[in-house]
Protein backbone atom coordinates (compact mmCIF):
# COMPACT_ATOMS: atom_id res chain seq x y z
CA UNK A 1 0.00 0.00 0.00
CA UNK A 2 1.32 3.44 -0.91
CA UNK A 3 2.25 5.64 2.01
CA UNK A 4 -0.10 8.59 1.28
CA UNK A 5 -3.00 6.16 0.94
CA UNK A 6 -2.10 4.48 4.22
CA UNK A 7 -1.75 7.87 5.91
CA UNK A 8 -5.29 8.81 4.85
CA UNK A 9 -6.90 5.45 5.44
CA UNK A 10 -5.60 4.73 8.94
CA UNK A 11 -6.93 7.88 10.67
CA UNK A 12 -10.22 7.41 8.83
CA UNK A 13 -10.57 3.84 10.10
CA UNK A 14 -9.57 4.89 13.63
CA UNK A 15 -12.13 7.72 13.60
CA UNK A 16 -14.80 5.32 12.37
CA UNK A 17 -13.99 2.94 15.22
CA UNK A 18 -14.02 5.71 17.82
CA UNK A 19 -17.34 7.00 16.49
CA UNK A 20 -18.97 3.59 16.48
CA UNK A 21 -17.60 2.57 19.88
CA UNK A 22 -20.28 2.82 22.56
CA UNK A 23 -20.94 1.06 25.86
CA UNK A 24 -24.40 0.07 26.98
CA UNK A 25 -25.76 -2.59 29.28
CA UNK A 26 -29.22 -4.05 28.86
CA UNK A 27 -31.71 -3.52 31.70
CA UNK A 28 -32.47 -6.36 34.09
CA UNK A 29 -34.75 -8.99 32.59
CA UNK A 30 -38.19 -9.46 34.05
CA UNK A 31 -38.09 -12.18 36.68
CA UNK A 32 -38.72 -15.48 34.92
CA UNK A 33 -40.37 -18.51 36.39
CA UNK A 34 -38.27 -20.23 39.04
CA UNK A 35 -36.88 -23.62 37.91
CA UNK A 36 -39.20 -25.50 40.26
CA UNK A 37 -42.24 -23.92 38.60
CA UNK A 38 -41.94 -26.57 35.89
CA UNK A 39 -43.16 -29.15 38.41
CA UNK A 40 -46.60 -27.57 38.54
CA UNK A 41 -46.75 -25.69 35.22
CA UNK A 42 -49.24 -26.95 32.64
CA UNK A 43 -47.73 -26.54 29.17
CA UNK A 44 -49.94 -27.85 26.40
CA UNK A 45 -49.00 -29.07 22.92
CA UNK A 46 -51.29 -26.40 21.44
CA UNK A 47 -49.23 -23.71 23.14
CA UNK A 48 -45.97 -25.18 21.80
CA UNK A 49 -47.41 -25.64 18.30
CA UNK A 50 -48.43 -21.96 18.18
CA UNK A 51 -44.78 -20.96 18.51
CA UNK A 52 -43.59 -23.73 16.17
CA UNK A 53 -46.00 -22.55 13.48
CA UNK A 54 -45.03 -18.89 13.79
CA UNK A 55 -41.27 -19.38 14.17
CA UNK A 56 -40.38 -22.68 12.48
CA UNK A 57 -42.88 -23.50 9.74
CA UNK A 58 -44.14 -20.09 8.68
CA UNK A 59 -41.47 -19.60 5.99
CA UNK A 60 -40.03 -22.27 3.73
CA UNK A 61 -38.53 -24.25 6.61
CA UNK A 62 -39.52 -27.39 8.54
CA UNK A 63 -42.56 -28.18 6.40
CA UNK A 64 -41.32 -31.61 5.47
CA UNK A 65 -40.13 -30.64 2.02
CA UNK A 66 -36.66 -30.19 0.50
CA UNK A 67 -33.96 -30.24 3.15
CA UNK A 68 -36.53 -30.61 5.90
CA UNK A 69 -37.84 -34.11 5.19
CA UNK A 70 -36.56 -35.34 8.55
CA UNK A 71 -37.10 -32.21 10.63
CA UNK A 72 -40.76 -31.93 9.68
CA UNK A 73 -42.69 -29.86 12.26
CA UNK A 74 -45.81 -29.28 10.15
CA UNK A 75 -48.10 -31.24 12.49
CA UNK A 76 -47.92 -32.14 16.17
CA UNK A 77 -47.52 -35.84 15.35
CA UNK A 78 -44.61 -35.17 13.02
CA UNK A 79 -42.99 -32.86 15.57
CA UNK A 80 -43.29 -35.57 18.22
CA UNK A 81 -41.87 -38.19 15.85
CA UNK A 82 -38.86 -35.96 15.27
CA UNK A 83 -38.43 -35.19 18.96
CA UNK A 84 -38.62 -38.84 19.98
CA UNK A 85 -35.58 -39.51 17.79
CA UNK A 86 -33.68 -36.24 18.14
CA UNK A 87 -34.58 -34.68 21.48
CA UNK A 88 -30.98 -33.88 22.48
CA UNK A 89 -30.22 -32.21 19.17
CA UNK A 90 -33.46 -30.21 19.32
CA UNK A 91 -32.73 -29.06 22.87
CA UNK A 92 -29.23 -28.00 21.99
CA UNK A 93 -30.23 -26.09 18.86
CA UNK A 94 -33.49 -24.57 20.12
CA UNK A 95 -33.62 -24.33 23.89
CA UNK A 96 -30.01 -24.37 25.16
CA UNK A 97 -27.92 -21.28 25.97
CA UNK A 98 -26.04 -21.88 22.72
CA UNK A 99 -29.19 -22.27 20.61
CA UNK A 100 -28.83 -21.31 16.96
CA UNK A 101 -32.43 -21.95 15.91
CA UNK A 102 -34.50 -20.19 14.73
CA UNK A 103 -31.70 -18.68 12.64
CA UNK A 104 -33.16 -15.16 12.81
CA UNK A 105 -32.82 -15.07 16.60
CA UNK A 106 -33.43 -17.66 19.27
CA UNK A 107 -36.74 -17.93 21.10
CA UNK A 108 -37.37 -15.88 24.23
CA UNK A 109 -36.05 -17.32 27.47
CA UNK A 110 -39.62 -17.91 28.70
CA UNK A 111 -40.53 -19.85 25.57
CA UNK A 112 -37.36 -21.94 25.74
CA UNK A 113 -38.16 -22.74 29.39
CA UNK A 114 -41.69 -23.72 28.40
CA UNK A 115 -40.48 -26.06 25.62
CA UNK A 116 -37.98 -27.68 28.01
CA UNK A 117 -40.70 -28.09 30.59
CA UNK A 118 -43.06 -29.62 27.99
CA UNK A 119 -40.32 -32.04 26.92
CA UNK A 120 -39.53 -32.92 30.54
CA UNK A 121 -43.20 -33.77 31.07
CA UNK A 122 -43.13 -36.14 28.08
CA UNK A 123 -44.83 -33.82 25.56
CA UNK A 124 -48.39 -33.92 27.02
CA UNK A 125 -51.27 -32.85 24.77
Amino acid sequence: MKKPMRATLLPFVLLLFMYSCTAEQAPAPEPGIPPTACDTAVITSTYIMTTISTRCTNGACHKGTGNFVVSDFSTLEKLKTYLNANEALFRERVTSANADMPPRGKLSEGMRDSINCWLNHGMPD
Binding site: F17, A23, N98, G105
Partner: protein, 307 residues
Protein backbone atom coordinates in the same frame (compact mmCIF):
# COMPACT_ATOMS: atom_id res chain seq x y z
CA UNK B 1 59.92 -4.57 -20.27
CA UNK B 2 60.61 -6.75 -17.24
CA UNK B 3 60.07 -3.70 -15.02
CA UNK B 4 56.74 -3.01 -16.66
CA UNK B 5 55.57 -6.61 -16.04
CA UNK B 6 56.63 -6.36 -12.42
CA UNK B 7 54.84 -3.07 -12.07
CA UNK B 8 51.65 -4.47 -13.56
CA UNK B 9 51.83 -7.58 -11.36
CA UNK B 10 52.41 -5.41 -8.34
CA UNK B 11 49.40 -3.27 -9.18
CA UNK B 12 47.30 -6.35 -9.75
CA UNK B 13 48.26 -7.86 -6.40
CA UNK B 14 47.54 -4.57 -4.73
CA UNK B 15 44.12 -4.44 -6.33
CA UNK B 16 43.48 -8.04 -5.37
CA UNK B 17 44.35 -7.36 -1.78
CA UNK B 18 42.14 -4.31 -1.79
CA UNK B 19 39.27 -6.25 -3.29
CA UNK B 20 39.62 -8.98 -0.69
CA UNK B 21 39.74 -6.48 2.08
CA UNK B 22 36.65 -4.68 0.87
CA UNK B 23 34.78 -7.97 0.41
CA UNK B 24 35.63 -9.01 3.96
CA UNK B 25 34.53 -5.63 5.23
CA UNK B 26 31.35 -5.95 3.24
CA UNK B 27 30.61 -9.43 4.57
CA UNK B 28 31.33 -8.25 8.10
CA UNK B 29 29.13 -5.25 7.59
CA UNK B 30 26.33 -7.42 6.22
CA UNK B 31 26.43 -9.82 9.15
CA UNK B 32 26.46 -6.99 11.61
CA UNK B 33 23.60 -5.15 9.96
CA UNK B 34 21.37 -8.01 8.84
CA UNK B 35 19.63 -9.80 11.67
CA UNK B 36 18.01 -12.76 10.02
CA UNK B 37 14.33 -13.09 10.99
CA UNK B 38 13.21 -16.35 12.54
CA UNK B 39 10.82 -18.14 10.21
CA UNK B 40 7.87 -20.44 10.86
CA UNK B 41 7.28 -19.73 14.53
CA UNK B 42 3.95 -21.31 13.62
CA UNK B 43 2.75 -22.89 10.41
CA UNK B 44 -0.42 -20.82 10.08
CA UNK B 45 -1.88 -17.39 10.84
CA UNK B 46 -3.90 -19.15 13.55
CA UNK B 47 -2.61 -20.92 16.63
CA UNK B 48 -5.71 -23.08 17.09
CA UNK B 49 -8.71 -20.77 17.07
CA UNK B 50 -6.99 -17.51 18.01
CA UNK B 51 -4.33 -15.71 16.01
CA UNK B 52 -0.66 -16.64 15.82
CA UNK B 53 2.03 -13.99 15.19
CA UNK B 54 2.31 -15.05 11.54
CA UNK B 55 1.00 -12.85 8.72
CA UNK B 56 0.47 -13.65 5.07
CA UNK B 57 3.14 -12.85 2.50
CA UNK B 58 2.66 -9.88 0.22
CA UNK B 59 -0.05 -10.48 -2.42
CA UNK B 60 -1.06 -13.78 -0.89
CA UNK B 61 -4.78 -14.50 -0.65
CA UNK B 62 -5.92 -16.97 1.96
CA UNK B 63 -9.36 -18.54 1.65
CA UNK B 64 -10.31 -19.94 5.03
CA UNK B 65 -13.11 -22.12 6.32
CA UNK B 66 -13.36 -22.84 10.03
CA UNK B 67 -15.81 -25.17 11.66
CA UNK B 68 -16.76 -26.08 15.23
CA UNK B 69 -19.03 -29.08 15.76
CA UNK B 70 -21.41 -29.83 18.64
CA UNK B 71 -20.53 -31.28 22.05
CA UNK B 72 -18.61 -34.55 21.87
CA UNK B 73 -19.93 -35.78 25.19
CA UNK B 74 -22.35 -34.69 27.90
CA UNK B 75 -26.08 -34.16 27.56
CA UNK B 76 -25.97 -33.15 23.89
CA UNK B 77 -23.17 -35.42 22.70
CA UNK B 78 -22.58 -39.14 22.43
CA UNK B 79 -23.81 -41.52 19.73
CA UNK B 80 -27.23 -39.83 19.37
CA UNK B 81 -25.59 -36.78 17.73
CA UNK B 82 -22.66 -38.88 16.46
CA UNK B 83 -20.40 -37.19 19.00
CA UNK B 84 -21.45 -33.71 17.96
CA UNK B 85 -21.03 -34.11 14.22
CA UNK B 86 -24.78 -33.69 13.62
CA UNK B 87 -24.56 -30.15 14.87
CA UNK B 88 -22.46 -27.27 13.68
CA UNK B 89 -21.80 -24.94 16.60
CA UNK B 90 -20.11 -22.28 14.49
CA UNK B 91 -18.87 -21.82 10.91
CA UNK B 92 -16.65 -19.12 9.44
CA UNK B 93 -15.79 -18.38 5.81
CA UNK B 94 -13.20 -15.67 5.16
CA UNK B 95 -10.80 -14.14 2.69
CA UNK B 96 -7.57 -12.76 4.06
CA UNK B 97 -4.93 -10.91 2.06
CA UNK B 98 -1.31 -9.91 2.57
CA UNK B 99 -0.94 -6.21 1.76
CA UNK B 100 2.77 -6.35 2.57
CA UNK B 101 4.88 -9.08 4.14
CA UNK B 102 3.93 -7.63 7.52
CA UNK B 103 0.38 -6.33 7.06
CA UNK B 104 -2.64 -8.45 6.32
CA UNK B 105 -6.33 -7.61 6.15
CA UNK B 106 -9.40 -9.79 5.88
CA UNK B 107 -13.16 -10.03 5.68
CA UNK B 108 -15.25 -12.90 6.94
CA UNK B 109 -18.73 -14.16 7.66
CA UNK B 110 -19.33 -16.22 10.77
CA UNK B 111 -22.50 -17.93 11.86
CA UNK B 112 -21.89 -16.85 15.46
CA UNK B 113 -22.41 -18.79 18.64
CA UNK B 114 -23.41 -16.70 21.61
CA UNK B 115 -25.82 -13.89 22.18
CA UNK B 116 -25.32 -12.55 18.62
CA UNK B 117 -25.33 -14.43 15.32
CA UNK B 118 -24.85 -13.65 11.60
CA UNK B 119 -21.52 -11.90 12.08
CA UNK B 120 -19.61 -9.92 9.47
CA UNK B 121 -15.99 -9.31 10.35
CA UNK B 122 -13.26 -7.00 9.13
CA UNK B 123 -9.75 -7.65 10.45
CA UNK B 124 -6.24 -6.26 10.23
CA UNK B 125 -2.94 -7.65 11.50
CA UNK B 126 0.45 -5.98 11.57
CA UNK B 127 3.74 -7.66 12.43
CA UNK B 128 5.53 -4.84 14.23
CA UNK B 129 8.65 -6.73 15.27
CA UNK B 130 10.13 -9.96 14.02
CA UNK B 131 12.32 -12.24 16.16
CA UNK B 132 15.85 -12.58 14.80
CA UNK B 133 18.11 -15.63 14.80
CA UNK B 134 20.87 -13.72 16.63
CA UNK B 135 18.45 -12.64 19.40
CA UNK B 136 18.93 -9.00 18.52
CA UNK B 137 15.13 -9.04 18.68
CA UNK B 138 14.12 -11.82 21.08
CA UNK B 139 10.41 -11.88 20.27
CA UNK B 140 7.95 -11.39 17.45
CA UNK B 141 5.26 -8.82 18.20
CA UNK B 142 2.13 -8.66 16.07
CA UNK B 143 -0.92 -6.44 16.55
CA UNK B 144 -4.33 -7.79 15.67
CA UNK B 145 -7.66 -6.00 15.58
CA UNK B 146 -11.11 -6.73 14.24
CA UNK B 147 -14.52 -5.12 14.06
CA UNK B 148 -17.61 -7.31 13.92
CA UNK B 149 -21.19 -6.39 13.08
CA UNK B 150 -24.19 -8.64 13.57
CA UNK B 151 -26.78 -8.86 10.80
CA UNK B 152 -29.40 -10.70 12.85
CA UNK B 153 -32.93 -9.43 13.41
CA UNK B 154 -33.18 -7.45 16.63
CA UNK B 155 -34.85 -9.12 19.58
CA UNK B 156 -38.05 -7.48 20.77
CA UNK B 157 -37.06 -7.93 24.43
CA UNK B 158 -35.02 -4.94 25.65
CA UNK B 159 -33.20 -7.03 28.26
CA UNK B 160 -31.70 -9.29 25.57
CA UNK B 161 -28.15 -8.60 24.38
CA UNK B 162 -29.52 -9.03 20.86
CA UNK B 163 -31.90 -6.08 21.20
CA UNK B 164 -30.55 -3.36 18.92
CA UNK B 165 -31.83 0.15 19.63
CA UNK B 166 -29.34 1.61 17.18
CA UNK B 167 -26.92 0.29 14.58
CA UNK B 168 -23.81 0.57 16.79
CA UNK B 169 -25.43 -1.90 19.25
CA UNK B 170 -24.60 -4.58 16.70
CA UNK B 171 -20.84 -3.94 16.86
CA UNK B 172 -18.03 -5.55 18.82
CA UNK B 173 -14.25 -5.31 18.60
CA UNK B 174 -11.12 -7.22 19.54
CA UNK B 175 -7.66 -5.74 20.06
CA UNK B 176 -4.76 -8.08 20.69
CA UNK B 177 -1.00 -7.93 21.10
CA UNK B 178 0.58 -11.21 20.05
CA UNK B 179 4.00 -11.72 21.62
CA UNK B 180 5.73 -14.89 20.50
CA UNK B 181 9.11 -16.53 20.68
CA UNK B 182 10.43 -19.57 18.91
CA UNK B 183 12.73 -21.06 21.52
CA UNK B 184 13.99 -23.85 19.34
CA UNK B 185 12.94 -25.80 16.29
CA UNK B 186 10.56 -27.72 18.52
CA UNK B 187 9.19 -25.16 20.96
CA UNK B 188 7.28 -21.93 20.24
CA UNK B 189 5.40 -20.02 22.93
CA UNK B 190 2.99 -17.12 22.69
CA UNK B 191 1.44 -14.59 25.06
CA UNK B 192 -1.83 -12.97 24.02
CA UNK B 193 -3.04 -9.93 25.99
CA UNK B 194 -6.48 -9.23 24.55
CA UNK B 195 -9.24 -6.65 24.96
CA UNK B 196 -12.74 -7.44 23.74
CA UNK B 197 -15.23 -4.59 23.56
CA UNK B 198 -18.90 -5.16 22.88
CA UNK B 199 -21.04 -2.08 22.39
CA UNK B 200 -24.15 -3.56 23.94
CA UNK B 201 -24.23 -6.43 26.39
CA UNK B 202 -26.83 -8.20 28.50
CA UNK B 203 -27.64 -7.33 32.11
CA UNK B 204 -24.63 -7.63 34.46
CA UNK B 205 -22.35 -8.40 31.55
CA UNK B 206 -19.26 -6.27 30.83
CA UNK B 207 -18.72 -4.11 27.76
CA UNK B 208 -14.94 -4.40 28.08
CA UNK B 209 -13.32 -7.69 28.95
CA UNK B 210 -9.57 -7.98 29.22
CA UNK B 211 -8.16 -11.46 28.82
CA UNK B 212 -4.70 -12.89 29.00
CA UNK B 213 -4.13 -15.71 26.61
CA UNK B 214 -1.26 -18.10 26.30
CA UNK B 215 -0.39 -20.82 23.87
CA UNK B 216 2.31 -22.69 22.13
CA UNK B 217 3.53 -25.57 20.05
CA UNK B 218 5.74 -28.43 21.06
CA UNK B 219 6.96 -30.75 18.33
CA UNK B 220 7.57 -34.33 19.36
CA UNK B 221 8.95 -35.51 16.07
CA UNK B 222 9.79 -33.76 12.84
CA UNK B 223 6.20 -34.21 11.69
CA UNK B 224 4.08 -34.40 14.83
CA UNK B 225 3.39 -31.53 17.21
CA UNK B 226 1.03 -30.58 20.04
CA UNK B 227 -0.66 -27.18 20.16
CA UNK B 228 -2.26 -25.55 23.17
CA UNK B 229 -4.23 -22.35 23.58
CA UNK B 230 -5.85 -20.91 26.71
CA UNK B 231 -7.48 -17.60 27.63
CA UNK B 232 -8.19 -16.26 31.09
CA UNK B 233 -10.86 -13.53 30.86
CA UNK B 234 -10.79 -11.07 33.78
CA UNK B 235 -14.51 -10.88 34.46
CA UNK B 236 -15.82 -9.33 37.68
CA UNK B 237 -17.00 -11.71 40.39
CA UNK B 238 -20.38 -9.94 40.47
CA UNK B 239 -20.89 -10.66 36.79
CA UNK B 240 -19.78 -14.30 37.16
CA UNK B 241 -22.12 -14.80 40.13
CA UNK B 242 -25.06 -13.32 38.26
CA UNK B 243 -24.58 -15.62 35.27
CA UNK B 244 -24.19 -18.59 37.59
CA UNK B 245 -27.45 -17.69 39.34
CA UNK B 246 -29.11 -17.71 35.91
CA UNK B 247 -27.84 -21.25 35.31
CA UNK B 248 -25.25 -20.14 32.76
CA UNK B 249 -21.80 -20.64 34.20
CA UNK B 250 -18.93 -19.17 32.18
CA UNK B 251 -15.70 -21.05 31.53
CA UNK B 252 -12.27 -20.15 30.23
CA UNK B 253 -11.63 -21.26 26.66
CA UNK B 254 -9.06 -24.03 26.38
CA UNK B 255 -8.17 -25.69 23.10
CA UNK B 256 -5.78 -28.53 22.33
CA UNK B 257 -4.61 -29.49 18.88
CA UNK B 258 -2.44 -32.06 17.20
CA UNK B 259 -0.44 -30.91 14.17
CA UNK B 260 0.63 -33.49 11.66
CA UNK B 261 2.82 -32.46 8.79
CA UNK B 262 2.64 -34.76 5.78
CA UNK B 263 4.94 -32.94 3.41
CA UNK B 264 2.38 -31.27 1.17
CA UNK B 265 -0.21 -30.48 3.82
CA UNK B 266 -0.41 -29.73 7.49
CA UNK B 267 -3.35 -31.38 9.23
CA UNK B 268 -4.70 -30.04 12.49
CA UNK B 269 -6.97 -32.02 14.77
CA UNK B 270 -8.38 -29.53 17.26
CA UNK B 271 -10.54 -29.88 20.33
CA UNK B 272 -11.86 -27.06 22.50
CA UNK B 273 -14.67 -26.19 24.88
CA UNK B 274 -15.73 -22.93 23.20
CA UNK B 275 -18.51 -23.15 20.65
CA UNK B 276 -17.73 -19.81 18.99
CA UNK B 277 -14.92 -19.17 16.52
CA UNK B 278 -14.39 -15.40 16.83
CA UNK B 279 -12.46 -13.89 19.76
CA UNK B 280 -15.34 -11.42 20.23
CA UNK B 281 -17.48 -14.35 21.38
CA UNK B 282 -15.32 -17.20 22.62
CA UNK B 283 -13.38 -15.04 25.11
CA UNK B 284 -16.34 -13.47 26.95
CA UNK B 285 -19.12 -15.99 26.29
CA UNK B 286 -17.82 -19.55 26.54
CA UNK B 287 -20.38 -21.40 28.63
CA UNK B 288 -19.39 -24.99 27.96
CA UNK B 289 -17.01 -27.01 30.08
CA UNK B 290 -14.41 -29.66 29.27
CA UNK B 291 -15.24 -31.45 32.50
CA UNK B 292 -18.88 -31.94 31.45
CA UNK B 293 -17.94 -33.41 28.08
CA UNK B 294 -18.81 -30.13 26.37
CA UNK B 295 -15.82 -29.99 24.08
CA UNK B 296 -15.90 -30.32 20.35
CA UNK B 297 -13.93 -31.10 17.28
CA UNK B 298 -12.96 -28.13 15.14
CA UNK B 299 -11.00 -27.67 11.96
CA UNK B 300 -9.57 -24.94 9.75
CA UNK B 301 -9.19 -25.29 6.00
CA UNK B 302 -6.84 -22.78 4.48
CA UNK B 303 -6.07 -22.43 0.78
CA UNK B 304 -3.54 -19.83 -0.22
CA UNK B 305 -3.30 -18.21 -3.65
CA UNK B 306 -0.45 -16.02 -4.87
CA UNK B 307 -1.85 -13.08 -6.80
Amino acid sequence: MKHIYLLLLGCGLGLNAFAQESLEALVEKETVKTHEPVIATYKSTRLIQGHSPETLKKRELDFRVAHHFGDLGGEFGGPKTFFGLDNSADVRIAFEYGVTDRIMVGIGRTKGSGSLTQLYEGLAKYKVLAQTTDDHMPVTVTLFGNAVVSGMTSSTTVSDASYFGKFSDRMSYTGQVIIARKFSRNVSLTLLPTLVHRNRVGYKDQNDIFALGGGGRVKFTKRLGLLLEYYYPFRSQESKDYFKSQGRELYNPLAVGVEWETGGHVFHLNFGNSTAILENQFIPETSSSWLQGQFRWGFNISRRFSL
